[in-house]
């Protein structure tokens, strides 16, 4: 009866629309919404430097992107937690390197927020022309940032379903533009004539254009940040990265060819240039995709105007959402950094009324991006992003190489390819290639761009100095040691706040009682429940060799557990773990999620036998758990 009612709840939930479990499609759509938005600004900035070689530069940057995606896929499966390169560096090196990576990522978020917000008014200029240029784009960009910070402080949740729909519409529109371009303007001969090797672009411009083109891949870490909420990261994360790489390749290798066919390189006033990379009013550096639309050679005025309005509104919406993703990312990374005592705990404090990290949002998602927008320089924003991104990616590649070298015997659920085995180590060739590429790209930016060099290095030095003082004077811990901040204690009664409760489940009455107990507790404390099921894989099989039926059964169990918890109005995440033993896997999950409480069902053994009261798994968890453990022993036994 109860089981039938539960199945009914699950069916109703499925009927309500999008599944709330983050699988491959949801991860892909959310990440593409982010990565796919960058073409709206990256095309113009890259074309300014790369001129006729823009399509080639996107291919080269795309290869580095593919290597970076492989590194992130492996790292995220290994450590399914928010943080990306910072998290990989913590496990591979130490806390100081992790801080550097996180601080560089913070710079990325600041630049992403600034550049996405700055381009929203450019695309809305289809309604009011002055928005294309300074000063109105600066005013518009700042207004977007302020609005989004306020929305996030008040805590209005964005709809995942709308975001996924927009990502699909965005991809379809980009495919449509490519298709129209192939029909109307694509010309291999123009593409060849656009190139004047060593002259337009010069070699230094060409090498600078490669890191700048990486701007197009803003958002590659999105999947990593969502991995915490993915049910089965070892399957969904690599698949999502493969799909993103395919979609990005399909658009980013074709749209620049169409753009350069429609807006060829010309010799004007003694220099080679393309209107794609020139500033308004003649050029389209501020709204390159609108430039493509206007130069497609569509003869019908009405159709052209309608297409311009459509692309303008869509681009502005996508960029608005990408700005919001940056705002959320900045507040999340600030929270993670203060959880690891890389930043003061003040940034973790929640607003008394809205329960959101208002200070983190105001400083890193509001004031810093506004300061970056104020000069109104697109190229500066682009290169400062590349400075942070290439540094952060290089750390990620180095971390994966170090992890492979230091723990060659470690069993991995997923290993990206290609690899090369030498002296007992499976060297990740993709990370070596990606690391060299992104490392050299970072050097090119540092050498060639004085403004970016001083702003970027200044940011890093400021962060390091602050980290040194904070760690030495306040935390009283060495810089390289990983330290977790204590659980947040709120209110005058010093009541301990349970933010995350981990509940391991199997199909048993005790597990169900544990779930109900956890759900009741979480409903009172507004906590989140992470439901974990461990599939124990025997030693004779590889960790990823699990029977389909066993996975389906585990999925079904997790789905039912989630429905049960959500019936109490509690937010639940599910996680399927493949491991040799359940106990260590549960403890690791609680550690990774920084859980304050672990609730588990514990069947008691009959009292007459002279053995332990609980089984092996419960016994291990009780001994090794990093947090409090609450056991639901079952009514009959009690």
């Amino acid at each position: 009866m109860a089981a039938r009612r539960q199945r009914g709840v699950i069916r109703r939930r499925r009927g309500q629309g999008l599944e709330r479990v983050l699988g491959t499609p949801a991860l892909f759509a959310t990440a593409y919404g982010n990565v796919g938005s960058s073409i709206y600004y990256a095309l113009g900035v890259t074309a300014l430097y790369a001129l006729g070689l823009t399509p080639v530069v996107f291919v080269i940057a795309g290869l580095f992107f593919a290597a970076t995606a492989a590194t992130y896929a492996e790292g995220t499966v290994r450590f399914p937690e928010a943080g990306g390169s910072s998290s990989f560096a913590r496990h591979a090196f130490n806390e100081t390197v992790s801080f550097m990576a996180a601080w560089a990522q913070m710079l990325n978020y600041v630049a992403t927020i600034a550049i996405s917000a700055f381009f929203v008014p450019h695309y809305l200029s289809v309604f009011w022309e002055p928005l294309r240029d300074n000063p109105w784009d600066i005013v518009g960009g700042i207004a977007v940032v302020v609005l989004l910070v306020l929305i996030n402080i008040v805590g209005i949740e964005e709809s995942t379903r709308v975001n996924v729909l927009l990502a699909v519409v965005d991809f379809a529109t980009q495919v449509l533009l490519v298709l129209l371009g192939f029909v109307l303007v694509f010309s291999p001969s123009i593409l060849v004539d656009n190139v004047h090797f060593g002259v337009a672009p010069t070699w230094s411009q060409f090498f600078l254009a490669i890191p700048v083109a990486m701007l197009a891949y803003t958002g590659v870490e999105t999947v990593s940040n969502l991995a915490e909420e993915a049910r089965d990261p070892s399957r969904s994360v690599p698949n999502a990265y493969k799909l993103i790489a395919a979609a990005v390749f399909a658009i980013y290798f074709t749209l620049p060819m169409i753009a350069l066919s429609a807006m060829p390189v010309r010799f004007v006033d003694g220099e080679y240039q393309t209107v794609l990379g020139e500033q308004p009013p003649e050029g389209f550096a501020n709204d390159p995709v609108l430039g493509v639309v206007k130069n497609l050679g569509i003869s019908s005025g009405g159709l052209l105007h309608a297409l311009e309005i459509y692309v303008g509104v869509l681009a502005a919406t996508i960029l608005f959402i990408a700005t919001n993703a940056g705002v959320i990312g900045a507040s999340r990374i600030t929270y993670a950094m203060s959880s690891y005592r890389q930043l003061p705990g003040t940034f973790r404090r929640l607003h008394r009324r809205f329960a959101t990290p208002w200070l983190a949002l105001t400083v890193f998602a509001g004031l810093a991006p506004i300061a970056a927008i104020l000069p109104g320089q697109t190229n500066f924003l682009g290169t400062i992003y590349s400075f942070g991104a290439t540094l952060s990616f290089t750390v990620a590649h180095a971390a994966i190489i170090a992890l492979r070298a230091r723990r060659p015997e470690e069993e991995a659920l997923f290993r990206a390819r290609p690899n090369f085995t030498w002296r007992g180590v499976d060297w990740p060739l993709f990370a070596v290639f990606g690391g060299i590429g992104t490392g050299l790209s970072w050097l090119v930016i540092v050498i060639q761009q004085p403004a970016t060099r001083w702003a970027g290095i200044g940011w890093l030095l400021l962060g390091l100095a602050f980290y040194y003082v904070y760690r030495r004077r306040v935390v009283h811990q060495p810089l390289s040691v990983t330290t977790r901040a204590p659980a947040l204690v709120l209110g005058p009664a010093l009541q301990l706040e349970y933010r995350t409760i981990v509940v391991p489940v199997v199909r048993s009455n005790e597990s169900e009682e544990a779930l109900v107990a956890a759900a009741r507790l979480a409903a009172e404390r507004r906590a989140t429940i992470a439901i974990v099921h461990v599939i124990q894989v025997p030693l004779e099989r590889r960790l990823d060799q699990v029977a389909r039926e066993e996975e389906d059964e585990a999925d079904d169990l997790l789905e039912q557990a989630r429905a049960l918890v959500e019936a109490y109005g509690v937010r639940a995440m599910t996680r399927l773990v493949r491991a040799r033993r359940a106990g260590p896997a549960i403890v690791e999950e609680a550690e990774r999620r920084n859980a304050e409480l672990l609730v588990m069902g514990a069947p008691r053994r009959p009292a007459r036998r002279k053995t332990a009261i609980f089984g092996q798994t419960v016994d291990y968890v009780l001994k090794a758990s990093p947090c409090r453990v609450l056991l639901a022993a079952g009514k009959r036994a009690a």
């Binding site: 495919v175 298709l179 192939f182 029909v183 109307l184 694509f186 010309s187 291999p188 395919a246 399909a250």
Partner: protein, 45 residues
């Protein structure tokens, strides 16, 4: 010339996908075919 190449590429992609499997190939093949076909139509018009 280019239009013909696009049509040919589209056809090859569709046939290849039909034989080996994989949905995305059909979509890409259809898009190439459409692009090549429309270019041919515009050039003859």
């Amino acid at each position: 010339m280019l239009s013909g190449a696009l049509v040919l590429l589209g056809l090859v992609l569709i046939v290849e996908t039909a034989v080996l499997g994989g949905g995305i190939g059909l979509l890409l093949g259809a898009l190439f075919l459409l692009a090549g076909g429309l270019r041919l139509y515009l050039s003859f018009r």
